[in-house]
Symmetry: C2
Subunit: 872 residues, 2 copies
């Protein structure tokens, strides 16, 4: 329910009223309460913005409240709005719940007209007065009437040229008067009316313009990118102006209570005398470091430092403040929690806790896990990047930054690697056969694919820098073209997996540091994390990395990845090509020993932690060769003819492989495949106990289930095989058989499946694909149109779709837990490493989320934060 009160004086609010008054307004109120020198003013609430947006006009009630508040300000300031002699000049500023820098509009110096400006000139000085007026006309015309700002800037340039003047500050009062004349002509030309002389018209027009700016395109896009709801609205702050440009004893500045780029506990800021705030932001003159103010005006400096300390103490966080000095008197115009770099956010958090100002819980709650990704990876040196223009850019699929030699084939990447040279694998797109080449490369760049394409998923799993979907990358006869720049194999490029930018040549990189502040924070995480974080890990190597990075188990071991290495793929192909059960079993026997060895290695590395192993999932055709030479080679080695193999490839090919013969469907047709995999798991488990005294209780996971009958059929194959091996070995090894929940039908049947499955794991990648009818291989192509047209705010493959997929997940959990309250339920989609998604899953009460090893610290942090949020 909206309130009837739309307008609040600064002394009527406080910092807790941020939703209603916006961040800026709430803090102005709070500073007023703290008795800091804040110029008087009032706030028109965010609710007024929403009402305005519905009615497209300001209600009389709202206007009356504004006029009443204005009267109070007139009274306390001794000035009268629109008075010819002594006008009240105000700023009309936007102020949303959270800062949206540069997105919303503001009008300054409002309250002037042809007569009042003369009064102002008399009160102070003509140059100042005319400067205020021309600034006002310019800003009002632009913000309220959408007149291009360039038109006005051109006039300034013209007058400067005529008078042979270089700086704005050299413009005389007469120059400015002439400028005002020209400005008014422009206004009339563009609007068909004279510039409004009624200051109340000015005020209400400006208020409406600020409200409207909430819905301008750039603001909408900004909100999409930052996940800010459209229905928050912006407040409008109307405040008595103070003038940093009044005289030489006036000035303006911004400062932080701590260093926002490295977090150091040291006062940090800059200021400019004889200037309004915009002049600092615009960067026309170079501002001075705040320390200089100490020399220039010690009293003011110390007064300001005192306020700064008070504010940090009060807000218990690093503050970002704006101030203005008018004729030697200090005014505070804004304070807010300061933005900071990811590494500064860690240092400030740790320092504030050390200083006893906040608890570790509060410190955790202030961190944004999704923004900390870069901390975990070595990154390109920003100081060098500043001076470089990227040659192209793509989707930042796996974070970090690296330079290296371009390799067009996995073989070339191996060659560079052997010569101790860093390789960047550049491909149209990657396929499972490229895995070895990806493993030896430092970075991966592809022309196609989205954030969940093969390249992206595998690179994140390996912790490699990766940029995908680089549309500007074209393959030519001699190499590649990036936006018209030619590169050949061996040339050096730099790939930034955080921004998606590609640079020509070498850029140095700064290594990740997981010690120090980060380690302290992870200690807090251990205190507050409840929902566990497992890793997606397919090999003993992955498992080791995962264990070291804090994985509490393996949530997804994709057995098929084991089949892509040179020697294994051949047996796999032999199995697929075989046209008899005996032939398949012969080939599977060869694969058995490889799989068993891998499982044994994984059991060993994970030291008894839970391990979830998904049986073969992709369609068989993914393992078959694609190029003619490969097919010929396969034919030779299997003693078949080429045509036969080509026919089989055609026969196995599918129109929609994602909806094809994969997952447990393979085991319905070829039970022997899952039998072999079960044997490998169980035999490895028995050996792990004998050799290393590690008791593993592997969780064998059946993918793509859609029916109970189907699950039972396959479960029976696994159970019969496993029990026989265990019995014959005289072992007491135990194991579990569970299912992926990744099809809508499995969601609907969750209660029935819960009765027969030992555990569930949500495969949110596939579930998202089916729920949306989006193929992750194809969707990126059109999703961009969805962002541009503001239809989608986020990519559902990156951030779980709470409204759709999330509802299905919650439905399944509820029904399954009704049947089996202690059912172990995990999540193994890519969402497991994204903080907002982790928050959703923690709320949904899953037992664990699983993600790429290199995402584990972030996921654990997100899990701890979500747990703390749930408690609050």
């Amino acid at each position: 329910m909206r309130k009837n009160k739309f307008v609040y004086l600064f002394n009527e609010g406080n910092s807790s009223m941020v939703n209603l008054l916006g961040g800026k307004g709430a803090n102005l109120c709070e500073m007023t309460r703290l008795k800091l020198p804040v110029p008087k003013g009032f706030i028109i609430s965010t609710e007024a913005c929403l009402e305005y947006n519905e009615k497209k006009s300001l209600s009389d009630k709202m206007k009356n409240q504004v006029l009443k508040a204005l009267k109070k300000i007139e009274k306390s300031s001794g000035k009268i709005f629109g008075n010819d002699e002594n006008t009240l000049i105000v700023s009309v500023r936007s102020g949303a719940r959270i800062s949206m820098p540069g997105m919303l509009d503001t009008v300054l110096n409002l309250g002037l007209n042809d007569k009042a400006v003369e009064g102002l000139a008399k009160q102070f000085n003509p140059r100042f007065a005319y400067d205020c007026y021309r600034r006002f006309i310019q800003m009002y015309s632009n913000v309220v009437k959408n007149i291009d700002i360039e038109k006005f800037e051109n006039q300034i340039d013209k007058i400067k040229k005529q008078n042979k003047i270089k700086l704005d500050s050299e413009l005389t009062a007469d120059n400015l008067k002439e400028l005002i004349k020209e400005y008014k002509i422009i206004y009339k030309e563009k609007t068909g009316t004279d510039f409004p002389q009624d200051v109340f018209v000015q005020l209400f027009e400006a208020i409406q313009a600020v409200f409207r700016s909430w819905f301008n395109t750039r603001a909408v896009l900004y909100r999409r990118l930052n996940n800010i709801p459209d229905d928050w609205g912006t407040a409008v702050n109307v405040q008595s102006m103070v003038f940093g440009n009044l005289d030489e004893n006036s000035g303006t500045g911004v400062a932080f209570t701590r260093n926002p780029s490295n977090g150091e506990n040291k006062f940090y800021g800059e200021y400019l005398m004889g200037a309004q705030g915009e002049d600092v932001v615009a960067g026309i003159r170079t501002p001075l470091p705040i320390e200089k103010l100490k020399k220039q005006n010690k009293a003011i400096y110390e007064e300001f430092v005192g306020y700064a300390k008070l504010l940090e103490e009060h807000y218990k966080d690093m503050q970002d403040m704006e101030f203005t000095i008018q004729s030697g008197k200090l005014y505070m115009l804004q304070t807010r929690n300061g933005k900071r770099t990811p590494s500064a956010s860690l240092k400030i958090a740790v320092d504030l806790v050390k200083e006893g100002k906040i608890s570790d819980k509060t410190a955790l709650l202030r961190l944004e896990p999704n923004k900390l990704n870069s901390i975990l990876h070595s990154v390109l040196n920003n100081n060098e990047l500043k001076n470089l223009t990227p040659v192209a850019s793509g989707l930042p699929a796996s974070p970090g930054g690296v330079s290296g030699k371009i390799a067009f084939s996995p073989a070339k990447a191996v060659e560079f690697n052997e010569n101790k040279e860093k390789a960047i694998l550049v491909r149209l797109e990657t396929s499972p056969e490229d895995i070895e080449g990806m493993a030896v490369s430092e970075g991966i760049l592809t022309a196609r694919g989205g954030m969940t394409s093969h390249a992206a998923v595998v690179a994140r799993g390996m912790g490699k820098v990766c940029v995908v979907g680089c549309n500007e990358l074209k393959f030519t006869e001699n190499g590649i073209k990036l936006n018209g720049h030619n590169f050949k194999e061996g040339d050096i490029i730099s790939v930034d997996g955080i921004t998606g930018n590609i640079y020509k040549g070498k850029v140095s990189s700064i290594p990740a540091d997981l010690t120090g502040d980060f380690a302290t924070i992870m200690q807090w995480v251990s205190k507050y994390q409840k929902t566990e974080v497992y890793a997606n890990a397919d090999t003993p190597n992955d498992a080791r990395t995962a264990y070291e990075l804090g994985a509490e188990g393996i949530g997804l071991c994709r057995t098929e990845h084991m089949f892509f290495e040179e020697d294994k793929i051949e047996s796999m192909r032999e199995m697929i090509i075989a046209d008899t059960l005996t032939g398949r079993e012969k080939a599977l026997a060869k694969l058995l020993k490889y799989q068993k060895k891998d499982f044994l290695g994984i059991f060993k590395e994970m030291k008894g932690k839970p391990i979830t192993i998904r049986l073969l999932d992709p369609p068989l055709h993914e393992f078959l060769p694609k190029s003619k030479p490969e097919i010929e080679q396969l034919a030779t080695s299997l003693n078949k003819n080429v045509e036969e193999i080509e026919q089989l490839i055609t026969k196995l090919s599918e129109v929609n492989p994602m909806l094809g013969h994969r997952g447990l469907r393979l085991a319905v047709t070829y039970p022997e495949i899952y039998k072999m995999q079960t044997r490998a798991i169980i035999e490895a488990g028995i050996e792990a106990e004998k050799k290393y005294s590690i008791k593993s209780e592997p969780e064998i996971m059946i993918p793509l289930t859609v029916s109970v009958e189907e699950f039972l059929y396959v479960k029976n194959i696994i159970k019969t095989t496993a029990d026989e091996i265990i019995e014959n070995a005289g072992s007491k090894m135990s194991y579990k058989i569970g299912t992926m929940i990744e099809t809508p039908r499995a969601i609907i049947l969750a209660d029935e499946l819960a009765k027969v499955a030992d555990f569930f794991s949500f495969g949110t990648n596939d579930l998202t694909q089916m729920t949306y009818a989006f193929s992750r291989d194809d969707a990126e192509k059109f999703l961009n149109d969805y962002y541009l047209k503001n239809i989608f705010k986020t990519n559902p493959f990156e951030k779980v779709d709470v409204k759709g997929v999330g509802k299905l997940v919650a439905y399944a959990i509820k029904n399954a837990k009704n049947v089996k309250p202690n059912l172990k339920i995990g999540v193994c989609g890519e969402h497991g490493g994204e903080a907002d998604s982790v928050e959703f899953f923690v709320k949904a009460k899953v037992s664990y989320v699983s993600c790429s090893p290199y995402r584990i610290p972030i996921a654990r942090l997100a899990s701890a934060i979500a747990n703390l949020k749930n408690k609050n």
Copy 2:
């Protein structure tokens, strides 16, 4: 709750107790109640079967009830079970709720052992007694102990050879005695024990064997095919035997009260003297027509005819009866509603109503719409088929039967058609470009694809005979191979779309007859149908057929099908190839006039009935050429180079097109496409009113919606375009904008979508694909394994998956109607023409189902029946 009573004497039951006593048992009770001469007996209930299946043994309680019932039969028959002098001989027969012919087991002549057989020999004659005993041993060994029946048959052959005998009836008592000896040796060899002499052991073993037969593989498969639940169970009928093989005055027969093959109201049957029932079924001797009995034994004949009339009068349906004559006395062994051919079912229904025996409602409720499909199509002559062996077979995708010349290309089909020759289009699979060729062919045969593949869907839409997924069809250099038989273009084959069989050469066909009985039944349908039946119709031609076949509207007009004709596809391709908005608009302008003309034609044909038009749905790459010559031709006509077009084809190609850039996603990227289509619809609507005074209120349908924002974005494009045209024309035409509900996400958001959409239409094809993660193009390949392994009973693309997809549909309807109780909701998947699915949708309270024009009568019948069922 199961009862404590498991055993019922024939005089304890009646025909309404069919669920508990099985069909056979309930009718034996009913005949007993009607005082017909039924040999005494009792029934062990279906509940006993289920209990047996759980416990794997007969409970003492059950056994005691059996023994008690047996005592009563002994008493009334004056015989004693297992008595050496005067044994009671019984049959132990299965009897499920509905007949499952030949699927379940039966043991006859039970109650004999080495001593009792001697008593029987004395009572009657030795040959008869030994024949009964050897029959019993043979049947018991086979049914109870699973001993191969051949072992026994071989012994008979051996003895016949030794004695130079040809017929079983020539075996002497001594021969039979020797046979018994040999049989017992076989039994001992196979079981390790002697043949049981304890008749109670025989009885309880036989009862258990019959119970077990409910779960044998062939019964389970039969149930799958006929949608019979596993938990019905079978009853067991234990009945005093009467012997048609006792002497020359004995015999056995079966008869129908009306002719089961054409429905004629004329007594029909056959009998055999000196034989048991199996002998008639086995076909060893040729039985005589029932009329002969009138001459042979008028009294018996008339007695039987009297019973038959009584039974038909009593059951008010055509009866199928079994009888036995023992030494001149008639016994009734079974009566049931007789199976009949589809056309007989119509005649009998209409006749019974005319005779005043049943109401039209009852008549409708007895019809099985899914079985009546063949009536609506001209079919291959069964008399000729009897003598032919199919050369191959595939999936029966569209019913009817036809012979014609093989055409390997659409062009060839056109050529045959121009020469007035019937063409059968034979393809690996069909694509939209084949549509013209399909339209001029009489039948279509493809090697690939399932029941919802392109060929199948289009053929059903066109009413063409179609067989798809014929694995035995291989293309060779000179033609095709069907299971090894070579055919070249122009050779004649016959295609049976009801069975899926393919025959070499010509078979004559019998035309469909939609007049007479069928027309009468459709009159009843009009009385009782509530849920309407719309047609899927894409062209004015389709619309005319649909209207003539009784369509009450068009539920799905797929606008893309309009684009595939020669002249249109070129403009479509021009549009796709264009790289600017202007270029696309230019090409779209050409398409506009074609589309408008088509819509005008459809509006005219449908005479004001509702028309639902789905805007462009398939991905654009479907419209691009595939072969090099076509690409070259396109390049020439568009003045582009071949490479450019090939690159675009590659760029547009998708890994999973079903989950790709299609549906309203196209309009998000290219709003101009839907704008053109809207213009065509609205302009045609305005013209239809002017020219033909037809007021159309087209329902414009947006496909593949997954989000409200997306729907609103596209709805706005359509609405803005439509309203402007209507206003400019000064028209008052109205239209609706609704959405397909075909993705799981649209299901979840149904309430929100209901707020902004004028109507819903469930696209159950795509919804089934997404729910199962099954591609209809690929799933048939592995679904067969699912049937074979009894994991799936039906194809979810043919019969709607009530448990999964159905639950989603019901969820969406409930939530949508909460928001908008009068929302018009239809169904336009292929399920709209399948009777069981129609029944589901009628229950789910949709406004209409939509199906191929040729399925409309069946769908209307199904709708009427479902409505009557709902009322019952």
